[in-house]
């Protein structure tokens, strides 16, 4: 445990190095959020669409923002670069489990993301008015869902980054992941807006757990019983992906080519 704590601490400290970067990033996501809010406000000004009213959509977007910010600073670029460049060789001679080590690093970076979410959501709520938090059980379920989101998102990012062992390229992998993730998680638009069959596929995919599940629970658009099912799906995917990623890693190692020094 001491080893993984040390890794988490190292990332937590490294994150501070990029204060300016982070500040710029904060500006960018804030502008994006404001733009989305403005667009939906116009769309939903007259009447609700697919059952979403403007106040609901506002909350949905805020939860989506929070969910989207968690585990976004995770060093997938760094990990991909280390695989492509061969620096992963040095990770392999450390007495730690590679997957757990990367997860520890993700946890280490969380604090700064949570801080960022706090600032942006706080400012938005201050400007546009408060939100009604759901009742006890639904709130508890929401918190569990947000907590599960951390390993789930980590595993999706981690697993797709492992593809670098095969593709020898990261940008394509990252773009593909982002496209699929944005659409099927409900980050772009709520899943209810998708064609029926696609909405069903999305709902059972691991991606729904990235945005849709916590947002719907928070909004009370699903009752606690249905919410429990959605959270169980999240948990199921976390377990499945955790072990799936291990198999991938093992297969990837066989493909590893490290050229030069």
């Amino acid at each position: 445990m001491r080893a993984y704590r040390a890794l988490a601490r190292a990332t937590a400290r490294s994150a501070l190095t990029y204060r300016l970067n982070l500040l710029l990033g904060l500006g960018t996501v804030f502008v994006q959020l404001v733009a989305l809010l403005a667009v939906w406000r116009v769309i939903l000004a007259q009447s609700s669409v697919n059952g979403f009213t403007w106040p609901q959509m506002r909350v949905y977007l805020l939860v989506a923002f929070a969910a989207g910010t968690v585990v976004s600073a995770f060093g997938d670029f760094r990990m991909a670069f280390r695989i492509l460049d061969g620096d992963v060789a040095l990770d392999l001679v450390k007495p730690v489990d590679y997957q757990k080590a990367r997860f520890a690093e993700t946890i280490g970076g969380l604090w700064i993301e949570v801080l960022l979410i706090g600032v942006v959501v706080g400012v938005t709520l201050a400007v546009t008015g408060g939100v009604r938090t759901p009742a006890g059980p639904a709130l508890a379920l929401f918190v569990v869902s947000m907590l599960l989101l951390v390993p789930l998102k980590f595993l999706i990012v981690y697993g797709s980054t492992l593809l670098c062992f095969w593709t020898q390229n990261f940008i394509g992998v990252q773009w593909a992941r982002l496209a699929v993730m944005n659409l099927l998680s409900g980050a772009l638009i709520p899943l209810a807006y998708l064609p029926g069959w696609l909405a069903t596929v999305a709902q059972w995919s691991p991606f729904a757990g990235l945005t849709s599940t916590p947002a719907l629970i928070f909004l009370g658009r699903v009752d606690v019983r249905h919410g429990l099912t959605l959270v169980a799906v999240q948990l199921g995917w976390v377990l499945l992906l955790w072990f799936g990623a291990r198999l991938m890693w093992r297969a990837g190692l066989r493909r590893l080519t490290v050229n030069g020094g």
Partner: protein, 339 residues
């Protein structure tokens, strides 16, 4: 039992075989053809605890690949490796505690953290207790002068500083076996000297060292055993001094005389040696085999002919020998002692 053992160790890389230009790349998309490149070809190697082994070979000979196989980074295509009797992939965690690896061209420091923090993370990764950690750090500091670089952020280190910090990073857990892959690449002479002194200190403490280097000065006076690899095969494995005795027997005596002496006279007094005139007519070079004649005998013979102003003896270095092996001039395999 040897601490490092490799049997029939082989690594084959598969490279896409693309035709030239865009056409070749497009064609490759549809008809994928691959070419096998054998980087390491059935190597047998065993290293005893406490040995310092030099592992040399020309570029692309398979040196780095061997080191990566021996440290469990790459999975062998064929054959097997044992470190302290352990399987480097299956027992990765245990093996990691026993080996230290330094790749001169890569760093294991955290780029955004001061060196001190990086070393502290490694301390926790390896579970080194604080007292031992402080003791090791103090000892590294003696030779590597770490003090001044501990507060520096990783990415702000100069190459020499980075290498010193990386050496400390590779050894902070007190590994029993250390692989040093090009540890002095790009360093200036002063830093090289310090780093070499450090190597000697860890060797003297009983650490097993496998050193890969293009700078043969790293090897002389440090390694007793020499392993030469070429095209993925070990072409020589034996005693470094023995190689020198056998293949570096020639000595060159450079003399400066008070007056010119006819070459014939010199040659007549030095049978078995080759005498040539150097840049001026009072400077001569005498080449001889040190098993036929000693430098003292040569000087005495010359002093009997004329007054000597100055003289100096050149010894060939192991570098010369290895250079001749690379170029195919020397074939050690047939004559050199093999283990």
């Amino acid at each position: 039992m040897p601490i490092v053992e490799a049997r029939a160790l082989t690594k084959v890389f598969r490279r896409p075989d693309k035709g030239p230009g865009l056409a070749g790349s497009v064609k490759h998309l549809f008809a994928r053809r691959f070419q096998d490149k054998v980087a390491v070809d059935h190597i047998d190697l065993s290293i005893e605890a406490g040995e310092a082994v030099a592992y040399v070979g020309p570029n692309g000979a398979g040196k780095s690949t061997t080191v990566k196989l021996l440290s469990g980074i790459l999975v062998p295509t064929e054959g097997e490796v044992r470190i302290d009797g352990l399987h480097p992939q299956r027992d990765r965690m245990t093996v990691a505690h026993r080996i230290g690896v330094l790749f001169g061209q890569r760093t294991q420091l955290w780029w955004d953290l001061p060196v001190r923090e990086s070393l502290a993370v490694l301390r926790d990764l390896y579970g080194v207790d604080h007292a031992t950690y402080r003791k090791r750090l103090a000892r590294f500091d003696e030779v590597l002068e770490l003090g001044e670089i501990l507060p520096v952020i990783g990415r702000k280190l100069s190459l020499g500083q980075r290498m010193r910090a990386d050496l400390a990073a590779a050894l902070i857990h007190g590994p029993r076996v250390v692989y040093l892959d090009e540890p002095t690449i790009g360093l200036d002479l002063a830093v090289k000297d310090r780093v070499r002194e450090f190597f000697r200190s860890i060797r003297d403490e009983g650490t097993t060292v496998m050193l890969t280097s293009h700078d043969l000065a790293d090897i002389e006076g440090f390694c007793r055993r020499l392993v030469i690899i070429d095209e993925g095969r070990i072409i020589f494995d034996g005693d470094l001094e023995a190689v020198k005795d056998r293949f570096a027997r020639e000595r060159i005596l450079h003399v400066e005389t008070a007056r010119p002496v006819p070459l014939e006279t010199l040659r007549a007094s030095l049978p078995g040696a080759q005498v040539t005139v150097e840049e001026s007519e009072v400077r001569y070079a005498v080449r001889f085999d040190r098993f036929i004649m000693t430098a003292g005998q040569a000087v005495t013979a010359l002093a009997g002919l004329t007054d000597l102003v100055d003289f100096r003896v050149d010894e060939p270095s192991i570098e010369d020998v290895i250079r001749r092996v690379y170029s195919g001039e020397l074939v050690l395999d047939e004559t050199g002692p093999r283990r």
